[in-house]
Amino acid sequence: MQRQGFNRTAVTLHWLLAVSIFFLFISSWWMMGLPLPSRELQFRAFPFQLHKNIGITLVIVVFMLLYVRLRHRPAPPDSTDMTPWMNVTAIAAHVAVYVLILAVCVTGYLSSAHTRWDTVYWWTIEFPRIAAPSEELNEFWGEIHIWVAWALLGIIAVHVSGAIYHAFRNDGIVRRMMRW
C-alpha cells in the first residue's frame, strides 16, 4: 500500500529548502546595501561567499528531494473537491518552483564565475575556474539571476497561497508535506 503523505526525508528536505531560499532572499537584499569591496573594506566577502555556498548546496538538495519524491511516490490525495484548473495550477507551480530554483542557482553561479572572486565551497573546496573574468558576462548572468529570482518569489507566493487555501479547507493536502 502506498503511504498517504510524503516520506520524512522529503518533508525535511522541503522545509530545509524553504528556509534556505527565504534566507537567501533576505540576506541578498541586505548584502547588496553593503559598501563595494576595496582593499580596506571587505564587508561583502563573507555574505557573498555564504550566499554562493547555500546556493550551490540548494542544487544538491533539490536533486535529493526530486529523487526521494520520485522514488517514494505517495498515494494520490483522497480529497476530490479540487477543480481541474486547481490541479493543473498546482502541478505547474510545482514544476516551475523546481525549474526556477535550479535556474536561479545556475545563473548565480555563472555570474559569479565571471568575476575576479574565486568560489571556495564552504571555505574548504576550491572550485576550478570555468571562465576568465568578464564584466560583460558577469552583468549578463547577474541580470538573469535577479529576474529569475523575482519569478521564483512570485511562484513561491502562488505555492504558499495554495498551501494556505488547503489549510483553511482542512482537506488533508497540506498534511502530506508535514509528517514529522
Binding site: 540576506s27 488533508g172 497540506v174 508535514m178
Partner: protein
C-alpha cells in the same frame, strides 16, 4: 497506520494555526539568521580605529550595481552610521536574542507541523514556542529602544509587527486549548 488525510479528528483551528505558524516560522528563521550575520559582519569588518576609508567607486562596478557615485559613497556612510549608533553592548545582545529567535522560529515550523497533524502535545508546545517568540520580540524591542534614533528607525517597526503576529499566534493557541478542553 493512521490516515493523514482523515480529517475527522483534525480541527480547523489546528490546521490553520499550524500552517500560519509554519509560514511565519520559515520567514522568521531567515530574518533572525540574517540578523546574526549582519551583526557579525559589521562588527568584524569595521576598521579598528572606526575611521572609514575614502570610498572606492570604480565606474565598471557602479555600472554593474546600477548605482551612482553618490549612492556608492552613501553605502559606506550608511554602515558607518549604523556602527556609530550602536552602543558597545548592542551587537552581542542582538546576536544572542536573534540566535535564540532563530532556534524558536525553526521550532515554530516543527510545532506548526505538529498542529496540522494534531498531535496530542501540539497545542501546549505551541503556547510555549509562540510565547517564547513574543518574549524575544519584547526583549529586542527593549534593546533597540535603548539605542538611538537611527537603530530605532531601522528596527522598531519590524519588531512591533512580529510581536503583534506572535501575540495573535499565542491567542490562537490559547483559544484552541480552550476548545479542546470544552470538547473533552
Amino acid at each position: 497506520m493512521p490516515n493523514p488525510n482523515n480529517t475527522t479528528f483534525m480541527p480547523h483551528w489546528a490546521s490553520i494555526l499550524g500552517v500560519v505558524a509554519i509560514m511565519l516560522g520559515v520567514f522568521l528563521t531567515a530574518v533572525h539568521g540574517n540578523e546574526v550575520m549582519k551583526q557579525v559582519v559589521i562588527t568584524n569588518n569595521m576598521p579598528a580605529d572606526g575611521v572609514m576609508p575614502e570610498p572606492d567607486c570604480p565606474e565598471e562596478e557602479l555600472e554593474e550595481e546600477g548605482i551612482s557615485v553618490a549612492e556608492c559613497e552613501y553605502l559606506i556612510q550608511h554602515v558607518r552610521g549604523i556602527a556609530l549608533s550602536a552602543p558597545d553592548w548592542f551587537p552581542s545582545a542582538q546576536i544572542t536574542l536573534s540566535a535564540i529567535g532563530t532556534v524558536l522560529a525553526f521550532g515554530s515550523i516543527i510545532i506548526g507541523g505538529a498542529l496540522v497533524n494534531y498531535t496530542p502535545w501540539a497545542s501546549k508546545a505551541a503556547l510555549v514556542v509562540f510565547g517564547g517568540l513574543a518574549a524575544i520580540d519584547l526583549l529586542q524591542f527593549a534593546v533597540v529602544v535603548n539605542t538611538g534614533p537611527t537603530l530605532r528607525d531601522v528596527y522598531l517597526g519590524g519588531i512591533l509587527l512580529w510581536f503583534i503576529l506572535h501575540l495573535m499566534l499565542v491567542a490562537g493557541a490559547l483559544a484552541g486549548r480552550h476548545t479542546e478542553a470544552e470538547a473533552q
